[in-house]
């Protein structure tokens, strides 16, 4: 961007090292908004220009904050979301009023379900037009209220900067999540000389830090007495930067660890205590352990139904110790016998100190190992069959850097990526869990790469999911982002097709996509590098070529169209009765 270059040159010329932007006093609401973002440490904004947000963009012209123009506002919200997951700091997205704002909603709902820190700033028509059905007007606060931690309507140029600072802090503190500030055009254009203060969460928001000591001791005593103890590590462990504490705790007291899907990376999957992740398509051994544990230490998980299956059969013998920073998650879905409300990092330290002894669980650990042997993650690889997607993921995992970040769309490919990639570090798994947003893949890889430019970024997508946000490939090309996209192409919305085969008598209504474009050629049309992959013999060579290409590349991997995802717990089913194949589905 040429304007950026000129500003940077001007900054470098500034002898005392302070930027021009820092020195200039605020004169408009829009400048106050941008100043608030600068105060909060924002590096990037993902957004799309438009009428009502133009004053804010104009103020951004003079800022050090980099703007990444996305092809669609949904892409902006997903990129900001992924940026938040990888960096741990709120990702910022901009959109104009009306359609711009409504296009953000999917990304905000996604961030809300997964507790990802995102702040969205939306333009709004001038306050004297609000309520009159003015051009590009919509009730953005009303629409987004149910899918954010809080949505603000900023009605005053003197306070708009503090509104933004508050929204930023709120997105970041306690249980993270999305916030939105709606910015009427007359407010951002309005004159003000009020400099925003430091970002500060509202005074009614006071998340707990440490849990009550007596409660911690009680929980530790129960856990130490358990015969079949199990740790269930959720996404909250990663959000709280508590992965090290989790690892120390599990290793010291030798307790097997199951993660949720958002908790992938919180505990190294190659560690002997790891049972990987549980739930609908989790490992057989994780689901056996969940079903048979007598004491579950669940940390930073909201017991989503894709994890629990039917609640009647979820860990039915277990005393549940539930650690969560959000009191409303306690006993929402699964009753907590020992609730510990607090920050996961702090509470894990408290628990570590409070444990009176290591649980006597040799037999249980042996049992878990037996299950690992009995139910290995596996698939058929006869050479004469079409390419198996699991092989592509597994091989890529072996070739990739240890700290490579994987993002995905939503569908079968997402499950294969999570099942067959070996994750060992937090913030390397970026996916849409709670909302299950097809189209999350292409923009999320952009946000991830922006947050971690020195790490390898791989996006596994499906043909259906890729098509939903493929336009964002133009952004990856423009920003020259070194991302490897792998489209596991089965010419179908495969998960729907799998369910139709399993539960709708094979009536494949609207699930087969034999008309999808050749994604390697599509990639070339965007200016990316395209590869087509069909044979086992070419897998390694193609992956390496795509990895070596310095810029976005797309591997169109033509996979077995009939391949399905197993293990599987049918919706609302019993985790212990997971199916390993179609025959098992008939039995349960």
């Amino acid at each position: 961007m040429s304007e950026r270059a000129s500003i940077e040159e001007a900054d470098e010329a500034d002898e005392d090292g302070e930027t021009a932007a820092e020195q200039a006093p605020v004169t408009t609401g829009a400048q106050s908004v941008v100043r608030a973002l600068e105060n909060a440490g924002a590096e990037y904004v993902f957004g799309v220009q438009g009428g009502a947000i133009m004053p804010v963009y104009d103020a951004l012209y003079d800022s050090e904050i980099d703007h990444v123009t996305m092809a669609h506002e949904q892409g902006a919200s997903h990129a900001a979301d992924a940026y938040g997951i990888v960096s741990g700091e709120p990702g910022v997205c901009f959109a104009t009023s009306g359609p711009g704002a409504t296009n953000l909603v999917t990304g905000l709902a996604d961030a809300n379900m997964d507790s990802d820190p995102v702040i969205a700033l939306t333009g709004q028509v001038a306050t004297d037009l609000v309520g009159n059905d003015a051009f590009q007007e919509t009730d953005t606060v009303g629409i987004t209220q149910p899918v954010t931690k809080h949505s603000y309507f900023a009605g005053d140029a003197d306070t708009v900067g503090d509104d933004v600072g508050e929204a930023f802090a709120l997105a970041d503190e306690g249980r993270q999540g999305p916030t939105l500030v709606d910015l009427p055009k007359d407010v951002t254009q309005g004159e003000t000389d009020v400099e925003p203060g430091e970002p500060k969460a509202p005074d009614t928001y006071r998340p707990a830090e440490e849990a009550d000591d007596a409660n911690v001791q009680e929980a530790a005593d129960v856990l130490a007495e358990a015969d079949r103890p199990l740790i269930l590590s959720g996404g909250g462990v990663i959000k709280a930067e508590a992965s090290d504490e989790l690892r120390d705790f599990a290793r010291e007291y030798e307790i097997p660890v199951v993660t949720t899907m958002p908790g992938i990376g919180s505990f190294p999957e190659d560690h002997e205590l790891s049972l990987e992740w549980a739930g609908m398509h989790g490992t057989g051994y994780a689901n056996m352990a969940i079903t048979n544990t007598d004491c579950m230490l669940a940390i930073g998980t909201r017991f989503d139904d894709r994890l629990t299956g039917g609640v009647d059969s979820f860990a039915p013998d277990a005393d549940v110790i539930h650690v969560d920073v959000d009191p409303a998650e306690i006993s929402k879905n699964i009753h907590a016998d020992y609730p510990l409300i607090g920050d996961a990092k702090a509470v894990l330290r408290q628990l570590y100190d409070a444990m009176p002894a290591e649980p006597d669980a040799d037999e249980w650990r042996e049992q878990c190992q037996t299950w690992k042997d009995e139910y290995p993650m596996d698939y058929d690889t006869p050479d004469d069959e079409p390419l198996k997607p699991q092989y592509v993921v597994e091989r890529f995992s072996e070739l990739a850097d240890d700290d490579a970040i994987v993002t995905t769309g939503v569908g079968q490919h997402q499950m294969w990526a999570s099942q067959f990639w070996t994750f060992t570090e937090p913030r390397t798994w970026v996916s849409s869990h709670g909302l299950g947003t097809m189209g999350y893949g292409v923009p999320s890889a952009i946000g991830a790469k922006m947050a971690a430019p020195d790490q390898e970024v791989v996006c596994f997508d499906g043909d259906g999911s890729f098509l939903m946000t493929v336009q964002e490939l133009s952004v990856a090309v423009r920003e020259n982002l070194d991302i490897t996209y792998v489209v596991l192409n089965n010419e179908a919305v495969g998960m729907v097709r799998q369910w139709q085969d399993g539960f709708f008598e094979g009536r494949r209504m609207a699930s087969e996509y034999p008309w999808v474009p050749e994604f390697d050629k599509l990639a070339e049309a965007f200016g990316a590098r395209g590869f087509r992959l069909e044979d086992y013999d070419d897998v390694e060579e193609t992956i390496e070529a795509a990895r070596e290409y310095d810029g976005p590349s797309v591997v169109d991997a033509i996979i077995d169209p009939e391949e399905n995802v197993f293990p599987m717990v049918p919706s609302g089913g019993d985790n212990g009765l997971f199916a390993l194949n179609e025959d098992h589905l008939e039995m349960i």
């Binding site: 606060v141 009614t204 039915p316 349960i588």
Partner: protein, 195 residues
């Protein structure tokens, strides 16, 4: 994939009920819905009522009444929300309400708290003396009288209002406006103490 079939696997005996509570075979607790009165202090700003009512509708809490009004503090409004939920639902509703950013404090009021509802009942005006007699039975007052109609104001518990409306039916009830429950804790205790 290898591995024992579903019916050959190790399984525990227990189970949970629909609230996710482990069922103790000796004392299987079922939670019946009950009426709970929640009182909340919230910031007095635009959109709060929509936020609260939206929360209750999208979480499928069975709401009986919701009233909102000003307090002594211009910046604070008070809401009284009556819901009918099993115990875990009441707890969850309270916690979800506490989570909203504009919420200052929330409390479930004791069953013995002072609960009042207001109703205006408009009836046919042909028998004013009889209407007055019934109104007196319910400590009501005629607040508007015309040749064709009489409007009576009644306050009291929800049950008392129901009974009063029933009693007025003999005069051809033309319209009823009910205000929903407002409530205060008995004694010196106030919601501000929770803040």
């Amino acid at each position: 994939m290898p591995g024992p079939a579903p019916d050959e696997r190790m399984r525990p005996e227990g189970r949970r009920n629909e609230q996710g509570i482990r069922v103790d075979p000796e004392a299987e607790a079922t939670h019946e819905p009950r009426e709970a009165v929640l009182a909340a202090l919230v910031k007095h700003e635009p959109g709060v009522l929509a936020e609260v009512s939206g929360l209750f509708s999208r979480r499928q809490f069975n709401i009986e009444s919701l009233t909102v009004g000003a307090t002594m503090d211009d910046d604070v409004a008070r809401m009284t929300i009556v819901i009918e939920e099993p115990d875990p639902g009441v707890e969850q509703a309270k916690k979800q309400l506490e989570k909203l950013v504009p919420t200052i404090s929330v409390r479930e009021l004791e069953p013995a708290s002072t609960n009042r509802e207001l109703a205006l009942i408009k009836v046919d005006g042909e028998k004013p003396d009889d209407v007055n007699a019934v109104a007196e039975m319910y400590d009501g007052t005629a607040v508007d009288v015309s040749a064709d109609s009489i409007t009576v104001e009644v306050t009291g518990s929800q049950q008392k209002i129901d009974a009063a409306i029933d009693a007025f039916r003999q005069f051809d009830v033309q319209e009823v406006a009910r205000g929903g429950t407002v409530a205060l804790e008995r004694g010196a205790d106030t919601l501000q103490d929770d803040d």
